[in-house]
Amino acid sequence: MAEVNIQVTSSYHLRMIQEEELLYQALRIRLVEEKIIELYPTDQIQSPVHLSIGQEAVAVGVCANLSDDDWVFINYRGHAFYLAKGGPLPEFFAELMGKSGGLSKGKAGSMHLADPKHGVIGASAVVASTISHALGAALASKIRGESKRIFVANFGDGAMEQGVFFESLNFASLHKLPVLFLCEDNGLAVHTSRKDRQSFDIEKLVNAFGIPAITIEKGYDPHEIASLSKAAIDQVRDHSAPVFFRIRTVRYREHVGPGEDFAAGYRSEEAVTNWKSHDPLYEESERFTKYRKLISEEINKALDFAHASPVAKSEELLTDVI
């Protein structure tokens, strides 16, 4: 994080610092994703990428309230959560490039990011398949009598149609597990919109399991997400009980890959353009120019590390199978 030169004289200023930091972190993820878009045609990243671009504020806002002991169970669209939770950037690029310097030695790639040191637990490319892992980790924590530690199941709105989502709501409520069900609701499952997928009202459904449901509409605003998710996270922590937290957001790019696909006609470009008009990361200002410069330097250093890292070693082929 860059130093932000505001003197701390009041809670207002404290809040300003936090706002600055949140914006900086969200912008950092945005610029990382833009760098991936720039690099992708060079084939240095030889695996599918599901970009978080447009959804950065969600990860940054929520992770601002989590410690390394709080675990987040992420998915294949996981760049933002990995970075927001503290996953190192040089190792991130190395991982995407299949280099041995990646945290998973290049065997994971973009879809299976993880960093246990910072509580980023493994990303799965099968929709909804890590929701129940968060419950299990929470159950273990509860059996040991730990308190104040929470487990975040991060998934998209498509995951809410999987049977395991319903099973998990039931079990988490039944066993009063400290789980935050965190839904990044971009309204799309690959290219299929909600109206073709869901017959239910999600809040009523979640409430039917005795779990409170909260929806945030301004999914572009990291500060609003940070303050509202703090309340939800405190509730999970203090009461050791699940909360469902949904943040509406917009995926700017195609489901997988670096491009835009508005020409395909399955969604409205106008709606996305309208959303972007609220996106604070498009700010043109002196401070943003400064941030961009700092972040670019960090990205370039990280890329130097990744480029210098050797390709995944041949002995890794049969290492860690059993």
Partner: protein
């Protein structure tokens, strides 16, 4: 131990796992009810109420919960009173548990156990009787064991729970539960890997799994009186069998029967033949014989079910065929009788 049954070994294994390791949790449908999973978990939920967990009928979520609990330091034992219900957890088992260690470059380990019971007894039909070993052993990252005796259970469960750091599937056989066994040594260095030489012989090698090990023993004892010497290898670790033991035995006998509890195509029989063919195909002096379930779903009607499974009758006939190229000496075959009736009435010792 007053008795030495398969069930009593499971009771001891579960009790010991809970007593000696406070990371152990037993979770599954029926683990805390009054039947306690065929008696194998009875009394444990009262003693360890937070670590013996009754579940909703949500196999998919429960399997994922086991992975999450394992990642956070517990040793989950997830039970499936019928292995068929285990099919509901294949996403978690194959896409997640089997790959977790490898996919993340060794950042995580997921030690856990799936106890799946092959429900075969009488009339269990198409969905309560299946043997899933070859589906599971096909997947890199999974260890699949079919214990055929109390000693195998005691050794392999203890080792899995206390020493092994990945997912293990234990396929228990319902027909074995009530049987009394004589004390035996398995002599396995690592009880999750390798096979067990059950009987030394010189004429024919039978490689068997689970209850078919007992049928092979019965066949061998029958044929001993007629001068035929049968060597029996209990495959035990389906995912990691002892290749050398199989090859060494066949260098001696040159004749192979694989007797498995499941279908033969793409299964254990196919795999044993692959191992031989890729190592030393010349050691077989005659074409091998594979015994397994008929290539159909399991019928419920007893008259059909008795035809469906191979048994001691088929083994004796096959061994004679391999040994003599037929049965010119007219060695009497055991009556073709219902295996389930036999195991209901004959309780051992084996």
């Amino acid at each position: 131990m007053s008795s030495n049954t398969y069930r009593s070994a499971l009771v001891a294994a579960m009790r010991e796992a809970m007593e000696q390791n406070d990371k152990t949790m037993i979770i599954g449908q029926g683990v805390a009810d009054f039947k306690g999973l065929f008696g194998t978990t009875l009394g444990l939920s009262e003693k360890y109420p937070t670590r013996v967990i009754e579940t909703p009928l949500s196999e998919d979520a429960i399997a994922g919960i086991c992975i999450g609990a394992s990642l956070n330091g517990m040793y989950p034992i997830n039970t499936h009173i019928r292995a068929d219900f285990g099919l509901l957890i294949f996403n978690q088992l194959i896409n997640l548990a089997a790959k977790y260690r490898y996919m993340f470059g060794g950042l995580f380990e997921v030690p856990l156990m799936m106890r799946m019971i092959i429900g075969r007894s009488w009339g269990q039909g198409a969905q309560h009787s299946q043997s899933l070993q070859s589906l599971l052993a096909h997947i890199p990252g999974l260890v699949v064991v079919m214990p055929s005796s109390p000693q195998s259970i005691l050794e392999s469960y203890k080792y899995a729970i206390n020493n092994y750091k990945g997912p293990v599937i234990m396929l228990e056989h319902r027909l074995l539960y009530e049987l009394e066994f004589e004390e035996q040594e398995t002599r396995l260095v690592n009880p999750l890997f390798g096979s067990i030489k059950i009987r030394v012989g010189s004429d024919v090698t039978v490689v068997a799994t689970s209850v078919m090990v007992l049928e092979a023993k019965r066949a061998a004892e029958h044929l001993e009186d007629f001068g035929i010497s049968v060597e029996i290898i209990d495959l035990h670790s389906i995912s990691h069998p002892d290749h050398d033991m199989i090859l060494t035995s066949l260098r001696k006998t040159g004749k192979l029967i694989v007797a498995d509890t499941s279908w033969t195509s793409y299964g254990v029989a196919a795999e044993i033949n692959r191992i031989i063919n890729e190592s030393d195909p010349a050691i077989l002096k005659s074409p091998p014989i594979s015994l397994g379930m008929a290539p159909a779903p399991c019928p419920t009607a007893k008259s059909l079910e008795d035809l469906y499974y191979p048994d001691v009758h088929d083994l004796v006939e096959s061994i004679c065929r391999l040994h003599f190229g037929g049965n010119p000496n007219k060695i009497p075959l055991p009556a073709k009788q219902s295996m389930t009736d036999f195991y209901k009435h004959f309780k051992g010792p084996f």
